[in-house]
Point group: C2
């Protein structure tokens, strides 16, 4: 379970998409959200867009691994697709906020690798939110003021990447993923391999 978090606009979604493109063996966890669909977003690919009633129902059914409120909207990770992917031995990527990360950490600390992406400067973050041109000026100002709180949660993450240059940041996230896959406890079949080696010596 590989988590990427960042304040809104710091680049986690672009990095997540590029990471998926270059790793066929990764599964993305598609979140459910009550926030309105933005232009270009595809239901079931970017998010599952649901209304508040449906979201509450899913909470009641225990259908979420984690869920949280941000900017007045609800976001949640559907449990079933994640558990199915993990059961098949696939690694799952989560593009979620710090609240969700805390909830995942409670249920799966051993299996979790967390990366926090920081913007290189306050100005760069403001520029990106403006360039994205998806939100009103009021929303952008609100996101920036929230970002000041969000970034303080970097201290709860295993790794930190300062997103100065997109390609470099992507390479760093890939490096973290590659290294974590070399952790002893994640190498499947290792104890059998060592037993065979020992018998041959």
């Amino acid at each position: 379970m590989f988590v990427l978090s960042s304040p809104s606009g710091a680049g986690k979604t672009s990095i997540t998409r590029a990471l998926l493109k270059q790793n066929d063996d990764l599964t993305i966890s598609v979140s459910a959200t009550t926030r309105p669909r933005r232009p270009g977003e595809v239901n079931g690919q970017d998010y599952y867009f649901v209304d508040k009633d449906r979201f509450s129902e899913m909470i009641a059914q225990g259908a979420f691994l984690e869920h949280a409120e941000a900017f007045g909207n609800f976001y949640g990770t559907p449990r079933e697709p994640v558990e199915a992917a993990l059961a098949q031995g696939r690694d799952v990527v989560f593009d979620i906020e710090w609240q969700g990360t805390q909830q995942l950490a409670e249920i799966a600390r051993e299996d979790l690798v967390t990366v926090f992406i920081l913007p290189p400067s306050a100005q760069a973050l403001a520029d990106r939110l403006h360039k994205r041109a998806q939100d009103s000026e009021e929303t952008i100002q609100y996101r920036l003021s929230k970002a000041a709180d969000e970034i303080t949660h970097y201290s709860e993450y295993d790794y930190v990447v300062i997103n100065q240059d997109f390609d470099e940041s992507l390479a760093r996230v890939q490096t973290i993923l590659d290294a974590e896959r070399l952790k002893r406890h994640r190498l499947t079949g290792l104890s059998g391999f060592v037993r065979g080696l020992k018998d041959g010596l």
Copy 2:
């Protein structure tokens, strides 16, 4: 503190040397040993070659971070150069055995990253020891029988690399080093950076 261990002949010394060549900012910890110098080995570069009396004296002086016996010879990590390098903020690489790794883990768990290198097969290990042509057939057989014990200690290490192909193994060790340097608690100046970012938002 970056530790590479492996049974004798599995390739840790070659990988360590290549790693140092491609990372100017790494310092190697040169061990002291009582074992005889092999052809081509340079005192102060490959090892500090000392006699048993001098080695005992160094133990008594607390001059070692760790020391252990292997194959009837003593090996130890001089404390002073390591502490000096770390004080300068430099990362230090250790080419040591599992006994030494256990001792380092007792004094510096947080700062330690450990990698165990396994041979791809028993036959490959035997072939390498013969190809190296540094030891008598008797010593090689002894090393192989010891390797059977040594490899069981893979389970005490953070990462495992199966050394099938030298270049690939080197790349994996480099990946581990690069990723570990992106761990939050190792990024110097990060809390100040985040404070500045927060003030700007």
